[in-house]
């Protein structure tokens, strides 16, 4: 009897449980991913007149500002519109996206400082095939179909840097024994920087140099000095330092204590670029020799030749090398007198 009552009670409980209100299940919040259909591309950019787009490696690298400003000055003379487009921080993928966008917009000409030569070559060829005039400045993509290159002869720039280092090494009588060299470059994929390193190596071939490390600054002047300082803290025993660009010396050198100590202990440093903050740092003893590039000339010449190209004129050659500038403790003061401090802050 009791078992029967118990069984019935359990049945009733089960039914009551089954009757529980579950309306909240009717609507569910889903986390499924979805994408959106996109709408027509915006056509709000100006297309009247000749538009020539410069694509430097990044916006935050002030070395290119001299090129930009000189190109802008030149554009006023030539009555063309200049665009200056790049990823904020050097980034080959970002540069490719911007380049693609310029191809889509069908600008008249593109002048680019290539970050990743291999990857950019196909894009340059694509632009050229669509009738866009393409040139390179500062960093070339020689295998591409670009019309011309304006910039430093990077091999010679590296060679001159190597010769300056060799001279200093000899002056300090360090050429008799093996030396350890640390190199800072922008990115290893950058053709122009590789050429500089090669020129440097060739010029210093007479020395017994062993390259202990090649560190990348990614063309970022904000992290380059910190990278160098940290490296020196952990590896204070190398002898020579070569920077293929002036990145580590753009920022005020107050925080580079380990590097200063390394330098005071006889380290020899040679750097490319002779911008005001770099010469100033060199003048404080952080660098023994500088070999500078002429970015203003890059801006002026590149626009001039691109304008000629767009207007159907033929160019007599594909490479236009800009002048180099040499700095050493003997002329640092003079160089500083001829340069203006950067007012970017």
């Amino acid at each position: 009897m009791n078992r029967k009552i118990g069984f019935l009670f359990v049945c009733l409980i089960l039914i009551l449980v089954a009757c529980e209100n579950r309306s909240t299940n009717s609507i569910r919040i889903s986390k499924e991913s979805a994408t959106e259909t996109m709408i027509d591309a915006d056509q709000s950019l100006q297309s009247d007149g000749t538009v020539i787009a410069y694509v430097p490696k990044s916006l935050d690298n002030p070395v290119f500002l001299e090129t930009k400003e000189e190109a802008e000055r030149e554009s006023l003379n030539l009555d063309v519109k200049i665009e200056w487009v790049a990823p904020m921080v050097a980034n080959s993928k970002g540069q490719e996206q911007i380049f693609e966008a310029l191809i889509q917009r069908n600008v008249d000409g593109i002048i680019i400082s290539v970050i990743d030569t291999e990857r950019m070559t196909s894009l340059i060829n694509k632009a050229v095939s669509k009738g866009i005039k393409v040139a390179t400045f500062d960093s070339d993509a020689p295998s591409s179909n670009r019309a011309f290159y304006v910039g430093t002869d990077n091999y010679k720039l590296g060679q001159a840097s190597g010769e300056a280092l060799l001279k200093t090494v000899k002056e300090k009588n360090m050429d008799k024994h093996p030396l350890e060299l640390m190199v800072m470059t922008g990115t290893k994929e950058s053709e122009n920087l590789e050429q500089r390193i090669q020129g440097f190596k060739d010029a210093t071939a007479s020395l017994d140099i062993h390259i202990v490390d090649v560190i990348e600054s990614y063309d970022d002047i904000n992290i380059a000095s910190e990278l160098l300082e940290n490296y020196v803290k952990e590896n204070p025993d190398f002898d020579l330092f070569f920077s293929t660009g002036g990145w580590p010396f753009f920022a005020p050198p107050d925080g580079m204590l380990a590097y200063k100590k390394w330098k005071a202990n006889g380290g020899i440093a040679v750097s490319v670029d002779t911008f005001y903050p770099i010469v100033s740092a060199a003048n404080e003893g952080l660098v023994d020799a500088l070999v500078g590039q002429n970015f203003q000339e890059m801006g002026r010449l590149s626009l001039k030749y691109m304008y000629q190209l767009i207007n159907g004129e033929d160019l007599d050659k594909q490479k236009f090398y800009t002048q180099m500038e040499y700095g050493n403790p003997d002329n640092f003061d003079e160089l500083l007198k001829n340069k203006n401090p950067w007012e970017i802050k």
């Binding site: 049945c11 986390k31 027509d40 591309a41 056509q43 500002l65 790049a86 990823p87 911007i98």
Partner: protein
């Protein structure tokens, strides 16, 4: 059907009670289930509407909050550095603008880092020259979006551009406003480009049902943002085209497109001017309806099962005593008179069982009495027969026959022998207790014949019996003792010719037999005494007194009941009337 369920006793009270319980339970259960189902369905529909409205409100609120947040960012760009940049740009100061250019880039970059959905911030001068995190380029400001910004009456008013692919192939929507300053010759524009993934996040995180979705249109109903199911890209989502969406601030409609039904909730965003449209697939709700239907049916089936179990259980509780009682009755009917119902309940069934037990006791005692009566009847019949064939009756009769033979009255002797033979044969009646009245009258007639011869026709006899009652049943040998009394105590010693008449007729539903003589008669006291003895009011000391009439009276009463029997009426010297009252029973 009946064969399959032949184990069910369809006519039993148990089956009827189970059916009654089920009917009584199922009807309210069905009504309750139906009402609950309807209520739940209505509640579900209203919940879906309410939920979708809430979702749309939430989407609107999220967008509004974000855009107002972005507006705060926009407001920060009318500072000294921005104005100075624009002034130098107007002036064409290529060297002087450098510092402000770099600062703007850094500011834009730092804001982008803070707000991940923010793709870019663009400051567009009156000439169309634009500075953004992508650099410096030219923008054609001769389009409606920029015109709307520049034509805005209030400086704080912002304009929202619907999602589009920008010049750098980024999927964005844009919020723009005017930058005005007394130091500028013409107002400039600042725009914030926001990644549509922000809308994706809002649209995708909140789904309406399994496949429902939210999308946005502009005020003209043009689609600006429309979600696509990446898991099932071929399953195109439907764009609801209904003027109500465009003309009303908010509401809900039901739409049928290509045979599919949709519940559409919409709201016009005050901040963006967009129509936020939430689409729910009606068939998903139907699926919920179907689930509820199944659940209701399941619950109904469960309840039915429980009801059946409870019905069977309760019916068993109620009918088991009855079944026990029936079993007892069956056994009782099968001659087990000693069995008794063992029902302990105090209800009607218990009372019935008690009554049954009482009835059993009564039946048992009656049966016993009947058996006793039968024994008694047998004894009395035996006595009656013994009385009938008293030796002196036989001797006298035989002497009479001998006398006739000696007188060579062979014919008469033969008649007498025949009458005697018939008399005895009728007496035996093949052992039957009851016989037809006709036979009983033949028996009396034979007796008359014998006795009239013996008494030398001292008396006459007659039969006045209605033909209608000749086939009625009667206890045998009831008239002969009465007639014998009439002969021996009535007409035998009178000095005139005796007459004995036997009458028979039906009266008031009874069969009345009378033996009437005109003999000596009796005093009233004696008649009363005899009647009292016959009625059981008086007891006799000598069992042989009135043996014949008592034997007849008792056999009648034993056979048919106390209301029947023998009654005397007599008047001294005039005669006696003996009345036998019997029931009418057709034989």
């Amino acid at each position: 059907m009946r064969k399959r369920f032949k184990w069910i006793d369809w006519y039993s009270i148990r089956t009827k009670m189970i059916v009654c319980f089920l009917v009584i339970s199922i009807i309210p259960l069905f009504i309750l289930g139906y009402l609950s189902y309807q209520y739940y369905i209505n509640d579900l529909q209203s919940s879906v509407n309410s939920y979708t409205s809430e979702v749309i409100e939430r989407v609107d609120k999220n967008i509004e909050t974000y855009i107002l947040d972005v507006d705060n960012i926009l407001n920060n760009f009318d500072d000294y550095y921005t104005i100075q940049y624009l002034r130098l740009d107007e002036a064409g100061d290529i060297e002087g603008i450098r510092k402000y250019t770099v600062r703007l880039w850094e500011t834009i970059q730092s804001i982008k880092k803070m707000k991940s959905d923010l793709v870019d911030i663009r400051i567009i001068s009156q000439t169309g020259q634009t500075i953004s995190s992508q650099g410096i380029y030219w923008t054609n400001i001769d389009n409606s979006f920029y015109s709307n910004i520049l034509e805005a009456k209030e400086d704080r008013h912002f304009v929202v551009k619907f999602p589009y692919r920008d010049e750098f192939n980024r999927n964005v929507f844009t919020i723009g406003k005017k930058i005005t300053s007394s130091r500028l010759s013409a107002p400039a524009i600042i725009c914030v480009d926001i990644d549509v993934s922000f809308l994706n996040r809002i649209g995708n995180d909140i789904k309406l049902g399994e496949r429902g979705y939210v999308y946005f249109t502009d005020g003209a109903g043009e689609t600006n943002y429309f979600p696509v199911d990446t898991n099932n890209p071929e399953s195109l989502k439907v764009l609801i085209k209904d003027d109500k969406i465009l003309n009303k601030a908010k509401g809900s409609i039901a739409e049928e497109i290509n045979g599919d039904n949709y519940l559409v909730n919409f709201k016009q965003s005050e901040v963006t001017g967009w129509n936020i449209v939430g689409v729910t697939y009606a068939n998903e709700i139907k699926a919920d309806f179907s689930k509820i239907s199944k659940l209701t049916l399941l619950i109904g089936a469960g309840c039915l099962l429980v009801v059946v179990l409870i019905s069977v259980y309760l019916t068993n509780i109620l009918t088991n005593p009855l079944r026990d009682l029936r079993k007892v009755m069956t056994q009782f009917a099968d001659d087990n008179l000693n069995i008794r119902a063992q029902v302990k309940t105090k209800d009607e069934i218990g009372q019935l069982a008690e009554n049954f037990n009482y009835m059993q006791n009564r039946i048992k005692s009656l049966v016993q009495k009947t058996m006793d009566d039968q024994v008694k009847i047998r004894k009395m019949e035996k006595k009656a027969l013994q009385e009938l064939i008293k030796p002196h009756f036989i001797y006298n009769t035989l002497d009479s026959i001998i006398g006739l033979l000696e007188q060579n009255k062979t014919e008469e002797a033969l008649d007498l022998i025949e009458a005697l033979g018939m008399f005895f044969r009728t007496s035996l009646s093949h052992g039957k207790d009851v016989i037809r009245l006709r036979t009983e009258l033949e028996h009396v007639q034979n007796y008359f014949e014998i006795q009239k011869f013996r008494f030398f026709n001292k008396f006459d006899s007659s039969m006045e019996v209605d033909d209608d009652i000749l086939n009625y049943e009667t206890v045998k040998l009831i008239l002969q003792p009465i007639v014998e009394n009439a002969i021996y105590h009535g007409v035998r010693f009178i000095d005139h010719k005796g007459i004995i008449t036997v009458k028979g007729y039906e009266q008031n539903g009874l069969m009345i037999l009378e033996v009437i003589d005109n003999g000596a008669g009796m005093t009233a006291e004696k008649v009363k005494h005899i009647n009292d003895v016959l009625a059981g009011k008086e007891k006799l000391k000598d069992e042989n007194d009135y043996f014949g009439i008592r034997n007849v009276n008792e056999r009648i009463k034993l056979t048919y009941g106390d209301e029947y029997g023998v009654k005397f009426a007599s008047e001294l010297n005039k005669g006696t009337r003996v009345t036998l009252t019997l029931p009418i029973i057709e034989n």
